[in-house]
């Protein structure tokens, strides 16, 4: 007591004020993830984040309501999002892969339809390629604004390794099989595969099914027709995958390699493997690992054609784009609308291009020459513009609840744990709605 009486008034007042402020702070945190005059933006964590950080910093310079960027490292994004989305910790704006992945959120009435934003600023719709914008329309209402780049899956290669083995990027499946033999003879793993992650393995299925049966087979299966998996085309695709794996195309250790810890990318960059099938983000992955390699020796080509296949060889598979959606509970919709407008700004398009991403705005073509690798961006842009069909990745097209079982099935088919019949019944057992 004595000491307290001696304590200078000012100091006591300061302490009291400090306590009060702390308490006020607690109150805020309890209510919502974002503070006063702030909204949170949740993004998939990877090399592209540098553009998003820059964009948020740019936005915060002029805006009264500040944006706060949160990232969740890649592999865990979807389950963390689903876990927090109906809690007070949910972000105000979040990243996703379009249609299928937000359907449950729309059904639960968590998302804000963006049609009002579009009415106020038609540019939010008109400045994007229609096919891409529409991929995030659910039940006739727009729910997402495209926010990264389109990400077709391409067959990447190490130019040096291919040159030394005397191999050309394959145009047909038979070319690929021949290249596998040549590369094996040269003592390198023909194709790097991050089988430990399982989704890279699935890319081989989604492309080969499309080449052999066309997009219709998968669409049928997705619509609930389980017979589709038993069709002759399906068995043919499985037989060809088996042949490729048995030829030793992926080496022996693919299940112990991951893409998410850069293991498979290192294999290609260090010349221990020739090819890798991966989304177009591979360019920025390699760029962040090894700039020199990305600039000089990283080659790419489209997935090879299959003789006699029903699918158009110009078809693509991968992620059509990523989108920002807005939660209904967001407190600052006007500020968020302003933020979303940046997604078609010139700066944003240039920044995305500079790290190898390909935005899907209508003005993208004007800036292609400013891309990190104009050649790479132009190549992709032409592929996307000319593709008759762009197959959304299987694990994104199916409901999220199917993804784990699908991944296990593709992994087990690759390593021989499942035969064709086993794989077919595993796919038939997946939930489709």
């Amino acid at each position: 007591m004595k000491t307290r009486r001696r304590m200078p008034r000012i100091l006591a007042g300061g302490v009291a004020l400090g306590l009060a402020l702390t308490l006020a702070g607690c109150g805020d945190d309890g209510g919502s993830a974002s503070g006063e005059n702030e909204f949170t933006v949740l993004v998939y964590g990877d090399a592209t984040n540098e553009v998003e950080k820059k964009l948020v910093a740019e936005f915060n310079k002029t805006s009264e309501v500040k944006a706060r960027l949160d990232t969740i490292p890649g592999a865990d994004y979807q389950q963390k999002l689903q876990t927090i989305i109906s809690t007070p910790q949910a972000p105000d704006v979040f990243f996703h892969w379009g249609g299928g992945s937000i359907k449950p959120f729309v059904d639960a009435d968590l998302l804000l339809p963006l049609d009002d934003f579009v009415k106020k600023d038609p540019g939010l719709k008109d400045n994007f390629l229609p096919s891409v914008f529409d991929a995030s329309v659910v039940d006739g209402k727009a729910y997402g604004i495209p926010m990264r780049g389109t990400q077709p899956v391409l067959l990447f290669h190490n130019k040096k390794v291919l040159d030394e083995a005397g191999v050309q990027p394959p145009e047909t499946w038979d070319d690929l099989l021949a290249a596998v033999e040549e590369l094996k003879d040269a003592g390198v793993t023909p194709i790097a595969l991050g089988g430990g992650d399982m989704w890279p393995t699935q890319m081989w299925f989604q492309y080969l099914y499309d080449r052999i049966a066309g997009p219709e087979l998968f669409q049928q299966a997705l619509d609930g027709d389980k017979e589709a998996w038993e069709s002759e085309d399906s068995r043919k695709a499985l037989g060809m995958i088996r042949e490729l794996v048995d030829a030793g195309a992926f080496g022996d250790t693919y299940d112990s390699v991951k893409f998410t810890n850069n293991g498979s990318a290192q294999l290609v960059a260090s010349g221990k493997a020739g090819f890798e099938l991966m989304g177009s983000w591979y360019y920025s992955t390699q760029q962040s690992l090894n700039e020199e390699f990305a600039a000089e020796d990283l080659g790419y080509s489209a997935f090879p054609a299959v003789d006699g296949g029903k699918g158009d060889p110009a078809n693509l598979a991968g992620n059509t784009n990523n989108y920002y959606s807005v939660m209904k509970k967001a407190e600052h919709p006007e500020a968020i609308a302003e933020f979303l407008k940046l997604m078609y700004s010139d700066t944003f398009v240039k920044d995305q291009l500079s790290i190898g991403n390909l935005p899907t705005t209508t003005n993208t073509a004007d800036f292609l020459d400013q891309a990190a690798s104009p050649e790479y961006s132009t190549y992709q842009y032409d592929l996307v513009a000319e593709a008759p069909h762009f197959q959304l990745s299987w694990d994104q097209a199916y409901p999220q609840s199917a993804a784990t079982d699908m991944h296990k099935a593709v992994q087990q088919f690759f390593n021989g744990g499942l035969d064709a019949d086993g794989f077919i019944s595993a796919m038939q057992a997946l939930p489709t709605s």
Partner: protein
């Protein structure tokens, strides 16, 4: 409490001791406000263990994907979980990994612990080094070993005579081997610590007497040290079993339950159903199966080992 008891009446025969236990509170003759003292811990336990457990029981009869409202579906989750071949397999895998853990770690940590209990000059320094893994988070340990065991850029690439092609996560046997090895590396120091403490508590008179009788170092170890460590052994094994059954992060980071479902132990399978497939009902049912199994195993161990009526190892001294 039992040790305290035995100190009060060191030579009490078993029957009398059991009777005495029912009056434990009065033995020391100190009045304690029983409930009031226990209240904070009880409340904490209720709020963070009992209530969630009850909620999990309720959830196991519901269908819920994490958004929207849960719906009651009766026994549906239970029927699915108990019919699921992966679930059955996961229980066997959990038991296998736990068994491996006990079988490998117990002898190792007894030897290390007894050694570390001595008074050699280098002991303090080396013990300190051995205990380092104990200070690291399980996640960090798994990440580090994941990188060290990478087939192309890790140890297996250099030591092909030992690892063959290095496809450690591609075969069931080697994937299980990796998991057992990593948890051994990580947890042996902890159990060593238990044995070190217990070995230090062995009365030196026993060794002196044995030496007089002409018993050599090995006889001393097998006939004095090991029997004296009995209680420590039971404690450490129960901790190993409970820890083994709830192993999770090592699997998540190193194998993700793969190849296929070959290392999908129950705890990981629960996570996979609940947080990856968003089937929280099935996840809750698996969690309960795990709780029941762990409780059952612990009870059996306690019964078989006589842990519940543990006798002091210094009786009669």
């Amino acid at each position: 409490m039992t040790t305290q008891m035995t100190r009060v009446r060191p030579a009490a025969p078993p029957e009398r001791r059991r009777r005495a236990r029912t009056r434990t509170a009065n033995v020391a003759g100190v009045g304690r406000p029983g409930f009031l003292w226990a209240a904070p811990a009880t409340l904490f336990f209720a709020a963070f263990a009992v209530v969630p457990l009850l909620m999990v029981v309720v959830l196991s009869f519901m269908s819920w994907d994490g958004i929207g409202d849960p719906e009651f579906t009766g026994l549906d989750n239970w029927r699915r979980v108990l019919d699921d071949p992966v679930m059955i397999k996961s229980i066997w895998l959990s038991l296998l990994l736990t068994g491996l853990g006990v079988a490998i770690q117990t002898p190792l940590s007894i030897l290390l612990g007894v050694w570390a209990a001595g008074n050699q000059k280098n002991r303090a320094v080396l013990s300190a080094i051995y205990f380092v893994p104990l200070l690291l988070s399980a996640t960090a340990v798994a990440v580090v070993w994941g990188a060290l065991l990478d087939p192309n850029f890790g140890v297996p690439a250099e030591a092909t005579w030992l690892f063959g092609d290095g496809n450690l996560y591609g075969e069931q046997a080697s994937a299980i081997g990796v998991l057992a090895f990593v948890s051994t590396w990580q947890f042996t120091p902890f159990h060593t610590l238990i044995y070190q403490g217990a070995a230090r508590a062995v009365p030196p008179v026993l060794y002196q007497a044995a030496e007089v009788d002409g018993a050599g170092r090995y006889r001393q170890f097998f006939h004095i040290t090991l029997p004296q460590l009995r209680n420590a052994m039971i404690t450490s094994m129960i901790l190993m079993v409970v820890g083994g059954l709830t192993t999770f992060e090592t699997v998540l980071i190193l194998t993700q339950g793969g190849p296929g479902t070959d290392t999908t132990i129950s705890a990981y399978y629960m996570y996979e159903r609940a947080f990856r497939s968003f089937d929280y009902g099935a996840g809750a049912a698996i969690a309960l199966v795990l709780v029941l199994a762990a409780t059952l195993i612990s009870l059996v161990m306690v019964r078989l080992s006589g842990y519940d009526k543990m006798r002091s190892t210094t009786e009669g001294l």
